[in-house]
Amino acid sequence: MNALQQYIDLYDESREVIEDQSPELLNALRPAAREQLATARLPRKGSEDYEATDLEAVFAHDYGVNVNRLPFDADPAETFHCDVPNMSTCLYYTSNDAFHSSATAERNIGQVVVEPFSMAAVDYPELMSAYYGKLAKMSDPTVALNTLLVQDGLFIYVPDGVVAERPIQLVNIFNAALDMMVQRRLLIIVGKNASIKLLACDHSQSADYHYLSNQVIEIVAMQGSTLDYYDMEESTPKTSRVSSIYVNQHEDSNVLIDGITLTNGFTRNNYHVEVNGEHAETHLLGMTIASGEQHVDSHTFISHNAPRCHSNEMFKYVLNDNAVGAFAGKILVKPNCPRVEAYQGNRNLCGAPTAKMYTKPQLEIYTDDVMCSHGSAVGQLDEEALFYMRTRGIGIDEARRLLMQAFVADVIDGVRLDALKDRLHYLVEKRFAGTLSNCAGCMASCKNS
């Protein structure tokens, strides 16, 4: 079986339609992707780096692909309203894979550029051609597939020295009344000494259909820049996501990526960070709360290619019911990169006999003068702490909830956006209490209006 074949065939059939509707820049990379896919196979469960995850099975489902880019429903910006307290973000929407901006987005005009590839190819052709498809590795079949079929994407550019006042919020929504796969693509360029905070939320409007989002995000952080990327997933059990984030960091840059999964079906997150400048800082955080049949697999790779850089990773999983969690992280320190400090932590709670956790922390070090460590633990809540709380009159369920909240608290505290931090504490509390509705996490609060 080769699940990729159906998409390759689709491309071969509708090549002209796809290319007509896309900027030339995107079309230029398609032949290479097509060639790569001719021999590529999606990894099966048990293959290297996919110990718990079967991508072949995920892509094998017969998804619809909106090749003709037919519009769905009304413009979401008209029906969705952002009224989250204390979060005056600049709001943008991706409905399936079509981009919409909202009224609040106007506030950033003149500073931060947020526009679809179709416009960016005209406005910033040099930047687009310099960076599009340059970081993402086509050797990953999901990246090649994205490159083959993607018709548009979102271009975010913060010019040199610009400090974005408001965070940018991007709400990705699936709203199709059929099973559907979309290719989402982001290119983020943060100029010298520029700074931006970004929040992406993934939602599915219907729990009845199978959705698959295959997304590729390329991030370039120039000298002295700061980027926060928060990625929150609150989708449905039938929604699958394969997300690959590629980061290129220059000297003195500071990048924080925080992946939060509260509800989902299947998720595979790939983080690939190349640290190319001295004194660069990288923070990768991850928090997963999974129950039912949820499946969350995170894979990180940080390559330290320059001396004196610093990286820090912390991933926490709370697994209940039949949930499956997987974490694999690799820290690479190349030769002649002294004084690198790299830490990696993975802590997991298995709360049910049928929950499964796979973890593979790895170090690959080729320079002696470094401080690198990783730690990984799988366990349960502390019985003594539970007992203590019960002697104080706190019921067992409540005590468990409190301890689980405390367990993930340090990942939430790593968030460098106060309003989001508070909101996350609240959402996690609701998630553990089982009262989190499908839309509660979305700061767009779409259905409330």
Binding site: E51, Y358, H374
Partner: protein, 486 residues
Amino acid sequence: MKESEKPEKGNQIIEEAAQAEYKYGFVTDIETEVIPKGLDEDVVRRISALKGEPEWLLEFRLKAYRHWLTLKAPTWGHVHVPEIDYQAISYYAAPRQKAANDKKEIDPELKKTFDKLGIPLEEQLRLSGMAVDAVMDSVSVKTTYRERLAELGVIFCSISEAVKDYPDLVRKYLGKVVPYTDNFYAALNSAVFSDGSFVYIPKGVRCPMELSTYFRINAAQTGQFERTLIVADDDAYVSYLEGCTAPMRDENQLHAAIVEIVVEDRAEVKYSTVQNWYPGDKDGKGGIYNLVTKRGLCRGDHSKLSWTQVETGSAITWKYPSCVLKGDHSVGEFYSVALTNNWQEADTGTKMIHLGKHSTSTIVSKGISAGHSQNSYRGMVKIAPKATGCRNFTQCDSLLLSDTSGAHTFPVIEVGNDTSVVEHEATTSKINEDQIFYCNQRGISTEDAVGLIVNGYAKEVMAKLPMEFAVEAQKLLSVSLEGAVG
């Protein structure tokens, strides 16, 4: 210290370290019977015939050989095993003993060899010593203390003799822990294995002395494929040691062994290795490819298996002594010090497979890399869904002594239930400059300070070795490290 000064100093010290002699590199001039190079079914039949084996064993070998033909050499290790021409190796080499008609006498030349290596083959000289099985190339030369052990019912002999004298026991256990289908090198070994030790400790017997096997490669252009099988019946205890050396040669030699251990109810086996095969010269020329499969099955409840290894030799080491913890409350332990220098590559670690309830395992791995070497820890801790209440603790530390060496860790953890606890910690760093400075202040030279710190670093593992081995291992560590200050 200025950054710019560092590489020069490092190079000078590495050079000094490289000059440390490999003192077991001599060749014994003894007549050796070597079968022609190459491998096919006839060679397998010939080895079997030379050893006078029964039909079932030949069948086992042939099945393994046919399976081997379908396999490809694994490439996932963090080592660079060049393409090995399996037709350019001779699969059987036996030193021809002059006094072959009298089994009690051993060839003086052979005795001299083992004396030179410090292995006591004459029982009267070392009354307090341990029982030794000495293996040169493909055959066991002599096993000491057999009679005394036999009084207790302990069987300790070479595997070829065991096949003749205790065929039922061997047949019952051979290939049960490491089947010939296990991996490429295990299949090869199962097809052409030569000698090794066989140990059987009967019910309730505590073996009164350390059992030891000493492996020596002597003949050129041969491979050594030894096979060891240890069985500890209910309530038995044995401590088993293994040592190995080889001559210095320019070409690489292959060593692909299998060790199988079965531990029954409440029994305990302690397996210690000091691996000192020839590591190659300072330019990475020559040396042994040490590609072995070692696995123990803790079959009984409350059984215990403990692996301790000190790895200082071999050009390439690819070895994962593992425990399958099948019995409830069974215990698996793995303590390892792996030191690589010059161009050595080591990829070693363990697998702890928890199948029994309340089984526990401990892994302590200390890697030290100097020169241009690459040192990896690769391990797996797997807890089956039904293995409730299990506990594992893993610690793997790496020490880097030069900026051209590499240290890597690749652990895999799979937990299938909610009552087990697994912990893993790993750190990588160089020797703390403050500690060296402190020693210097007190008049200890930098070189001695490094020796002290490294020995202290490895002490946790060394403490697990039997006394005599610990002394040897400690010496070995300081010789291998001589001058290696980063």
